[in-house]
């Protein structure tokens, strides 16, 4: 009987293959591999960008050349040859589609397989989808409805053309191109992404969502997302991704910048399920992302929620700069690693304004031979009177060969701050499994129940539409072992 040997069941983790692995055959427009000034000019020209953006890219590139790849994370990253990557790939669509019928049927099928059929989403769920495939926005929906309210939700390249002043004002204001190695790289070569602007006093009526996919082989994807919430506004933004199966590793270095003004609130949710590599640790996505939000205004609020199940290597720290007085930062995370996956993820909460508050809840689940680390910083600057932070990071270990690590940093420069950090690491409680067994629940189901309960605190923070997918992902990721 299977449940007689829980170890066997836990080891079964590896038996599950990536369900979203398929390649869509669409003609893609790829520029030669390698990175130099000409390539950057080429990208910029192809996208028909203004001079100031090209300058921004070139400055970033010049700075990137002076940097070295960081090695401080608890990750083993194989050597990456940045000259062997193609920095631009766009699906060849000659005319922008006006209706769903005009969208390439192959592409439509891909989205259908992923469960994001555009028409269904448009009709039923009321979500505006900005579908991004290989760096260029293919289609944006619900634009008109949002436009009535003055909400801008479009691809980054469109924003550059239509709202240059807004883009110019906010681009790089939170994540400077000098920020880190990958931020500099992204700033130099970013292809496309999403742009959101919520005007003063507007509560965005629907959840904004975008799906990223990596499609053409051997192309890195360099997304750039910029969200600006003006005074008294509210927006909930969803980001989810699945990528097809590949043998060669793919690099993804995205930037997400969020600016939150007075009394505004932004909720950013991510479900990340990119190809994690096969059972032997071959292939998989390298996910090196810089995400940061600036709570610029008083009483502003930024909340990050992430469910990380994919990618071979994850290097990601969605952060909050709490500059405005009474601003609030939140970070809720579930990170699941299996087989040979590696994750070094966490957050930074920088308290600058007075009476700022932050909450961090991180749940790590490691199985197989994976390594899962939480790394976080809570910094309270001298002027941040009455700052308050609560951090909890728990790790759950499902096999004897995996690793769970926590590296929290606390730098407190103000005596009125109250900062708490708690971390626990343990394996699934055998008493709980026994209790379930006694009541006729198989070990597999019991472990599933326990893991779900363990992650619930974070799952509850996800918007409804996402929670379903996230729960499915959690199950798929650990299927055979615990689900």
């Amino acid at each position: 009987m299977k449940q007689d040997n829980p170890n066997e069941i836990l080891n079964d983790v590896t038996s599950n293959d990536y369900k979203y692995g398929f390649v869509t055959e669409i003609e893609t427009d790829i520029i030669p591999n390698g990175l130099n000034e000409d390539i950057i000019r080429h990208i910029s020209q192809k996208k028909g960008e203004p001079e100031w953006l090209l300058e921004f890219r070139l400055k970033a590139y010049a700075h990137w050349k002076t940097l070295e790849m960081p090695h401080w994370a608890h990750l083993t990253i194989p050597e990456i040859d940045y000259q062997a990557i193609s920095y631009y790939a766009a699906p060849k669509t000659k005319v922008a589609p006006k209706s769903l019928d005009e969208v390439d049927p192959e592409l439509r099928k891909t989205f259908d397989k992923l469960g994001i059929s555009l028409e269904e989403q448009m009709k039923l769920s009321g979500i505006a989808v900005d579908a991004v495939m290989d760096s260029v926005s293919v289609r944006t929906t619900f634009r008109e409805k949002l436009a009535e309210l003055g909400v801008i939700f479009c691809s980054f390249s469109e924003a550059v053309k239509d709202y240059p002043d807004l883009v110019k004002r906010y681009l790089g204001s939170v994540v400077s191109y000098r920020d880190n190695f990958f931020a500099a790289l992204n700033s130099a070569v970013f292809s496309d992404g999403s742009f959101v602007y919520i005007p003063k006093g507007v509560r965005c009526p629907m959840e904004l969502s975008t799906y990223f996919r990596i499609n053409a082989a051997n192309t890195g994807q360099f997304e750039r997302t910029l969200i600006v919430a003006d005074d008294d506004s509210y927006v909930s933004y969803l980001e989810g991704c699945t990528a097809p199966m590949r043998d060669e590793n793919q690099l993804h270095a995205a930037i997400v910048e969020i600016v939150v003004h007075d009394r505004a609130e932004v909720k950013y949710s991510t479900v990340q399920n990119w190809y994690p590599g096969d059972k032997e640790g071959k292939g998989g996505i390298y996910n090196f992302v810089t995400k940061r939000g600036m709570c610029k205004g008083d009483h502003s609020k930024l909340s990050w929620t992430q469910v990380e199940t994919g990618s071979a290597i994850t290097w990601k720290y969605p952060s909050c700069v709490l500059a405005g007085d009474h601003s609030v930062g939140e970070f809720y995370s579930v990170a699941v690693t299996n087989n040979f996956q590696q994750a070094d993820t966490g957050t930074k909460m920088i308290h600058i304004g007075k009476n700022t508050r932050s909450t961090i809840v991180s749940k790590g689940i490691s199985a197989g031979r994976s390594q899962n680390s939480y790394r976080g910083l809570v910094k309270v600057l001298p002027d941040a009177e009455n700052a308050r932070n609560f951090t909890q990071c728990d790790s759950l270990l499902l096999s004897s060969d995996c690793g769970a690590h926590t590296f929290p940093y606390m730098e407190i420069l103000n005596d009125t701050a109250v900062v708490e950090h708690e971390a626990t690491t343990s394996k699934i409680n055998e008493d709980q499994i026994f209790y379930c067994n006694q009541r006729g629940i198989s070990t597999e189901d019991a472990v599933g129940l326990i893991v779900n309960g363990y992650a619930k605190e974070v799952m509850n923070k996800l918007p409804m539409e996402f929670a379903v997918e996230a729960q499915k992902l959690l199950q798929i990721s650990l299927e055979g072992s615990v689900g």
């Binding site: 401080w72 608890h74 001298p382 790790s395 270990l397 499902l398 096999s399 004897s400 060969d401 995996c402 690793g403 769970a404 690590h405 926590t406 590296f407 929290p408 940093y409 606390m410 730098e411 407190i412 420069l413 103000n414 005596d415 009125t416 701050a417 109250v418 900062v419 708490e420 950090h421 708690e422 971390a423 626990t424 690491t425 343990s426 394996k427």
Partner: protein, 449 residues
Amino acid sequence: MNAVQQYIELYKSQKNLIDTHSSEVMNGLRDEAVALLESRGLPSLKDEEHRRTDIESIYAPDYGLNLGRIEIEVNPYEVFRCDVPNLSTLLYFVVNDSFYKSVQPAAAKLPDGVLVGSLREMSVKYPGLVSRYYGRIADMKRDGTVALNTAFAQDGFFLYVPDGMVLEKPIQLVNILQGNVDFMVNRRLLIVVGKGAQAKLLVCDHSDDAAVKFLSSQVCEIFVDDDAVFDYYDMEESSENTTKVASVFVRQGARSNVLVNGIVLHNGVTRSNYYTEFAGEHAELSLCGMAIVDKEQSVDTYTFIDHAVSHCHSNELFKYVLNDSARGSFAGRILVRHGAQKTEAYQSNKNLCASPLAKMYTKPQLEIYADDVKCSHGATVGQLDQNALFYMRSRGIPEAEARMLLMFAFTNDVIEQVRLDALKDRLRQLVEKRFRGELAKCSGCRACR
């Protein structure tokens, strides 16, 4: 010439002098230590583990070293009388980095086979025994300060408790810093507790002259064999001009029980490293410490607990109280290696920031490669409970007194870990005095009179 080169030059020109006044066992490691120092240098602020204490600039000033071992006339009893009431200890002194022979408790008090005394002398008398342990766990590659200490250490303290021996009386070692020029000492402690043996060691650090700058480098190696029990208390109580860079290395055998308690009551800059390692199963470690720092003082602790084998238990507790412009830093790393199942490791770091300019950096770390473990860490930074303060004041306790009581209660957890009642009482008294702003030195010593 940077700080390191200055020491390397000194070593090369004075090698004979250093060797003459030490022992063969200690001289044996010097060349390797200097080579390591030359290739790796001292830790810099860029090193993740040394980001809060600038070791290079600590070693940069031109300190005097007593390489020629010139005897300093001192009556340690006059400088310091730190006897703990109701606790008769066997009292030994190390003045600067030389074992002080003139004043020693009668050897007759020691049971047969127990060796206590000068590390240099013991390593001449029992070279086989000392060389089996000296420098074996003090990893010079890990930290340039350990290499530098190994290169220059000429003497220190040696304690050997043979198998099965239970030492009833605690041993007390008083380190005294004395000199009239800026001075650097390289002290070495070597402690070996045999199978099933039991001992307690209390080490107190004092400096005599508050006007002289001291740099005190200490490396302590503690070997605790199977089934042995050992307590190590380290109390730092010197002057604001004293900088202490200390590393404690512990290796524990199976079923052993070790308590390490480091208390910083008064010192300028303190950097303490604790490296402990479980070599046998079912061993238990309690590692704790506290620091009361004010003015411009700084205290920086790094701990590394290596759970290399299964079924071991470690408990870590560090508490800081920071006043004025004091700076506190704590980095605690717990490593549970692959296969070290049934490990239990708990860590807690709690800090009280009692003034607007005080700074605290804390960095607890768990690195776990085994699944059947129970590990946790917690870290807090906060202030005194305003409600508790108000409660006390509403009952007629003046604010200053109420604050002191609360701070005292805060640190009491660490004192509670002490496994000697008389020492516990004594520590409570010293801590209370410290909070009252008095130097904690006992009333009997010269500085207080």
